[in-house]
């Protein structure tokens, strides 16, 4: 059969134009809801355009026309088969507030990845701590920053208020923002390193652990244990768990990628990864504020006992939040799989 492309085009052009204008009006709607009549018309025009495309698909015939029709069919296909989120899902503030309960729920659901992250970090801590304990000279290798190597001088500077940060509210505010930003960036990298099948995440956590263990033992050996506890814990009780949660998100992502074919509900999994990241970001905001405004004040101003007590209270609240808030997890109350996803 000789297909007269010109005549074919002339006949079909009106319905292509129709489809184009229908698509333009649908695509400009943010919620992408279809009226029944529109859906019917879209289905009809889509079927016709697809049939037209099939007619010009074979041979080198009418390259431009084929491209045009492919584009048109692709757009119509996307509109027809996409199930848009409902308006309420996007705009109801209540749903946004649900992050505060969804975070601990997700945390508990994937607790084994958290345990894994904690294990890796503890191994790092043990290595760092033991290395410094048996070979104090290793501090030079393990602790990169000069200011960490000489606790005596550092403590003196801190207590005199001669540290890097002058303790005015102004500087503390700016400092807190930098801390928040830096910490969230590091945590995000840890969570994203899941794409290296978790190896990158593990390395990052391990390195963090080594550093932590080395500093702790180093300062304790020199007799500054209390100072260090009071210095690090008020923000550390949030900062360290949030890095662990970042590791949890990383390992979760790694498992997700390794089992992609089996895991049918990728969308739900992605959402849980996002919830973990959002939750740890909130924790890091608090940690940053505490670190800048509270942790940097030392003995004469704030007694160490008081600081440690605050840290302990924070830890209790955090534990309660992470373990008790939200729906109780049991085998029957797994989150319902949205049916549109199947």
């Amino acid at each position: 059969m000789i297909l007269d492309v010109e005549r074919f085009q002339a006949q079909a052009r009106p319905r292509w134009r129709d489809l184009e204008s229908l698509l333009a009006s649908l695509e400009s709607r943010p919620d992408r809801r279809l009226q029944p009549a529109e859906a019917e018309r879209l289905q009809d025009l889509y079927a016709k355009a697809a049939a037209d495309l099939n007619r010009v698909t074979h041979g080198s015939l009418a390259h431009e026309l084929r491209q045009y029709l492919e584009r048109l069919v692709a757009r119509a296909y996307a509109e027809l088969y996409y199930s848009p989120p409902t308006r309420s899902e996007i705009w109801q503030p209540r749903r946004w507030l649900r992050i505060f309960t969804a975070f601990p729920e997700t945390f508990r659901r994937h607790f084994r990845y958290f345990a894994l992250a904690m294990l890796v970090t503890l191994l790092g801590c043990a290595l760092g701590g033991l290395a410094v304990h048996y070979d104090p000279a290793s501090v030079d290798v393990l602790l990169p920053a000069d200011y960490l190597r000489d606790p005596g001088q550092r403590v003196h500077e801190e207590e005199q208020g001669q540290g890097r940060h002058r303790n005015t509210a102004q500087n503390e505010a700016a400092f807190s923002a930098q801390l928040i930003r830096h910490n969230i960036e590091v945590a995000l990298v840890a969570a994203a390193l899941g794409v290296t099948f978790g190896i990158g995440t593990a390395l990052l956590l391990f390195e963090n652990g080594v550093l932590l263990g080395a500093v702790a033992v180093h300062y304790t050996q020199r007799g500054f244990g209390l100072f260090m506890t009071a210095w690090l814990l008020p923000h550390g009780v949030f900062e360290i768990p949030s890095i662990l949660i970042a590791g949890q998100a990383g390992f979760y992502l790694a498992r997700l990628l390794l089992h992609r074919r089996e895991d049918r509900n990728v969308r739900q999994a992605m959402r849980e990864w996002l919830v973990l990241v959002a939750g740890l970001a909130m924790m890091l905001v608090w940690a940053g504020l505490m670190e800048a405004f509270f942790s940097q004040h030392h003995a004469p101003v704030l007694p160490y006992g008081f600081k440690v007590a605050i840290a302990a209270a924070e830890l209790v609240l955090l534990t309660i939040y992470l373990l008790l808030i939200g729906r109780r997890e049991s085998s029957e109350t797994r989150p319902a799989v949205p049916s549109v996803n199947k």
Binding site: I2, R32, L61, A74, A174, A177, R181, L188, V195, M270
Partner: protein, 268 residues
């Protein structure tokens, strides 16, 4: 998601989708250069917004510069991520830069991307940007047949090229009113009978791609085609052919071949 109902395959530069109805279409993928330019533009827009905001904050917090700095630092950080994620999520996979460069992020099944996919692929930027200048992401794009960076692989998205294409218009040779070949109906009929569908398509294709061919090549092809028709298929009188260019010869032949048969008879 829709792996069960539609299948996909890909070549070096396009994504092929087979819909449940058995329709096959291809989407051209966007290469690294255009994506990089779009990203530069978006970065410029974000930096501009942040700096403008910073100036405003500076005015408001002139008595408390520390707090001003705090607000700017955090706003810069949040806007950096939220800009792409929110625009892509709510604006059908396009940021301002992507729109200007005719790029669009879509789900790898050919559907619009979802808001959580937009967030995931943009948060994964921190990994793709490692160690500097998007080296990891760039390597991922070059090593992947769907040109996905790691963020795209995790989120199941890809970036397509979407230059606007207008409805193909009538070709110029359709508009000629008089065809000198109709003066020789017997020879014209012979042409119609003798031409195979392949030959007819070849002639029409050669004319259609007139503008794509280099002038020299075009002359060669047209001359050979016209010569073939003249010697092997339908020898029109020399005094007519001498007056016609090879291109006009082909236009006339195509007109004879494709014209609606009934209209042609009436004209005869």
């Amino acid at each position: 998601m829709t792996d069960t109902s539609s299948s996909r395959a890909s070549t070096s530069a396009e994504l092929t989708i087979v819909t449940p109805e058995g329709v096959l279409f291809r989407l051209p993928l966007a290469g690294p250069p255009s994506r990089f330019y779009a990203m530069l533009l978006d970065t410029a827009i974000v930096l501009g917004t942040v700096n403008g905001l910073g100036y405003l904050v500076h005015l408001i917090f002139s008595k408390a510069p520390g707090f001003g700095l705090m607000v700017t630092t955090l706003a810069e950080f949040a806007i950096g991520f939220a800009y792409s994620a929110l625009l892509e999520g709510f604006w059908n996979g396009q940021t301002i830069g992507k729109r200007l460069f005719h790029l669009r992020v879509i789900d790898q099944d050919g559907l619009p991307l979802r808001i959580e996919q937009a967030w995931v692929r943009n948060l994964m930027r921190v990994f793709d940007a490692l160690p500097l200048a998007y080296l990891v992401g760039g390597l991922s794009v070059l090593s992947n047949s769907l040109m996905q960076r790691f963020g795209d692989r995790v989120a199941g998205t890809l970036v397509i090229r979407q230059t606007p294409i207008a409805v193909p218009e009538d070709e110029f040779w359709m508009q000629q009113k008089y065809n000198s070949f109709t003066e020789y109906p017997a020879i014209a009929m012979k042409l119609r009978r003798a031409a195979t569908p392949e030959l007819a398509t070849l002639i029409q294709d050669a004319l259609r791609r007139r503008r794509e061919l280099a002038p020299y090549v075009r002359r060669e092809i047209y001359r050979e085609l016209a010569k073939y028709l003249q010697t092997e298929v339908s020898p029109f009188p020399d005094e007519l052919v001498e007056r016609l260019s090879d291109e006009q010869y082909l236009i006339n032949a195509s007109d004879i071949l494709f014209r609606d048969q009934r209209a042609w008879r009436l004209q005869l």
